[in-house]
Point group: C2
Chain length 410, copies 2
């Protein structure tokens, strides 16, 4: 479980984090650029999704085709994602190709071509992806939930809004890239097989950009509606709900994680047994912790049919409520094993390690070791979780449904 952390800050301010992994031949790297959905100005919802595509369509001396060929020649397993705070781009690849890949990613982040004639394609793909949500109501209900739950703009849709996407021009989007690809405020993480000294010298050379000022803080406004219903004819009802809880930086964070694990950590967890098994109310159910730097909640999804939708929601809330009234030592023991086991599994993937250290650094300002996380989980107990729940009761639910009929919020 031991983990070692490499850290270096480039002259321009970019933070370089590394976690070496023995016995792997691969490496995963990622750039967390401060250009997530909530960081872009109002009226641009979805711009990060256009940018995510557009920046890969040619950079510096390479046109769209040359860049695509070069990336493919390195055998990259690329990933990119738009989150609330960041646009993250990266890849997993054979360790020997890391230096060549970073040369390309430096061009992509510093000198993307952003050609006019490729803008419409990038925009159309973002619009198509958005339209695809109609065939993916489970994803749709979760997006809408986060939008309503978090104070705006934190929960802004990471897929985009059609009208705002349509109104974006190449010129406007180019400006957004210029303003928000702040490499001085970017976190770079690597995990797997790498030579940290060589990596740091290369990164200093590649990102010799000079410091850039921090963009102004976003201002948080009101939360959305307590209940939102999206009409959808079909045989299913998708229910999503979320209740506020402590942030990842809070002293009580591990108690919150344990509470969710008792609710939804395995076959014998409460939601699964009480909602699905005993009552047969729904075909899919699960709860999880969702935390941003600024706010956090526990969210729950259930997939059911119209006849049992109301009862499903009622029983879920009942189960959330009841948790504070008593948790057995066996439940705690299983929840600990579940959380620790998930930690070990994810620590064996270079991509998930790189993502975790970058996210820790952003959210907490430091990277936790695996041992620290394990120890903090171990320190919780039935008593600490219950006390936490009594002091931080689940309440003030935000609910979203997608289906043929509404439910009543009691």
């Amino acid at each position: 479980m031991a983990s070692k952390l490499d850290k270096h800050v480039l002259k321009n301010g970019m933070v370089i984090l590394g976690e070496p992994m023995e016995a792997v031949q691969s490496v995963a790297f990622g750039f967390m650029l401060p250009a997530g959905a909530s960081r872009l100005p109002d009226g641009c919802c979805g711009a990060a999704n256009i940018i995510e595509d557009w920046i890969f369509r040619g950079a510096a001396d390479m046109n769209n085709r040359a860049l695509g060929d070069a990336l493919d020649s390195l055998g990259l397993n690329r990933f990119s994602s738009v989150g609330s705070g960041h646009l993250s781009i990266g890849a997993a690849l054979e360790a020997e190709n890391l230096a060549a890949a970073l040369e390309l990613y430096a061009k992509i982040t510093r000198q993307p071509r952003l050609d006019d004639e490729l803008f419409e394609l990038a925009k159309q793909l973002a619009l198509d992806h958005l339209a695809g949500l109609d065939d993916d109501p489970r994803h749709k209900v979760m997006l809408k939930l986060k939008e309503q739950f978090y104070p705006q703009p934190l929960g802004r849709s990471t897929v985009g809004e059609a009208a705002q996407l349509k109104s974006l021009t190449a010129e406007k989007t180019r400006q957004l890239v210029k303003q928000h690809f702040n490499l001085s405020r970017t976190i770079f993480a690597v995990a797997g097989r790498y030579d940290f000294d060589a990596l740091c010298s290369q990164m200093e050379r590649l990102f010799d950009t000079g410091p850039q000022e921090e963009s102004k803080e976003i201002e948080l406004s009101e939360k959305g509606s307590k209940y939102t219903h999206i009409h959808n004819d079909g045989a299913q009802v998708h229910i999503a709900l979320m209740t506020p809880t402590v942030k990842p930086s809070d002293e009580q964070y591990y108690n919150a994680r344990m509470a969710v694990s008792v609710l939804s950590g395995g076959m014998s967890a409460r939601l699964f047994t009480e909602v699905r098994e005993k009552r047969g109310l729904c075909y899919a159910i699960g709860a999880s912790y969702h935390g941003l730097k600024e706010a956090a909640g526990i969210l729950c999804y259930a997939g059911t049919v119209p006849q049992t939708a109301q009862q499903t929601l009622d029983v879920i809330i009942q189960q959330f409520d009841r948790l504070k009234d008593g948790i057995s030592e066996q439940e705690i023991a299983r929840a600990k094993i579940g959380l620790e086991s998930a930690l070990i599994m994810s620590s064996e993937s270079s991509a998930s390690r790189a993502a975790r250290i970058a996210s820790d650094y952003y959210v907490l300002g430091r990277v936790r070791s695996l041992d620290e996380i394990k120890e903090r989980i171990e320190q919780t107990g039935a008593e600490s979780v219950q006390r936490f729940l009594q002091q931080n009761p689940f309440e003030d639910y935000t609910v979203v449904t997608v289906g043929p009929e509404k439910v009543a919020l009691k």
Copy 2:
């Protein structure tokens, strides 16, 4: 890239395969039970999905609750899947819990309780899962494609048919478990951290079942329709098509894999550039090799809108056709890197290694080493792939669409 294979055959005939991985703390194991969708009798389509749930609801001396608690106490990251040939069940977990997990899985496979009162719940969940396909047209179109493409019953739906699921009784389903959980014909695979000698002694003790006869071979009948349209009102059209190619055991297998990689291996691959980029015809496109022991094909999925559905299909088939007319050395080089890189990445996950060695053993009768796969990929070239395509042209397409309107098959 070196890989070592452990192999032992239990007295009852069960094959035990193992691939040790240095420097991991976890282990993944899986049982491939010969109870896949195509192996069950006609009229039972979906039974494997009920069984997949039902067998975990109590076994031997443990009732539903006790078994669920015991599984959760081991921190299992469970997985199970219904395939054409097999029902696979397994988990990834901390290595120290492997022996305890196998004790439970022996009970589950040898003495599942299969209580009457839990049958309806398992059946309802299978029906709900099937109904959920209505909200997942991409999955639906692929299931229908395999059903139409493969000679029956090979492509039988792995999710089930509503009428057949509904008609199943506890008694009938119990018989299916008895007949098809043939532990003498089961392949067991493990990858990660384990002690093979200790594992084999434990497995001999747990599966001291005596040999069971092989069930009779399935008889293959006709393939389905060339074109199937499933009406769905909505903004999207989901297109799936499949053309026959050589099986995994064929000498030409690696040439077929390379051909698919040239079509769909990365950003610069042909389908992506020609269909999506140059023409902007669809928002999602990809092709892959799909092989069973008995037959194989190359399948392609595209997600588009009604206005461009016909042209999307036409251009895809044109691109498939044109492949035999010329492939550049650069395309081959990128395809090799892509395939080899994917191989390395997947070799770093214990679960995917365990799945691969079990599947190799079933399909090929032996397990390929990573070095062998890499070497065989290296041996291909533009010339060998083109010759392969000329001798095994893409033709005889099976097409399925889900959307508001049909397309024409030319």
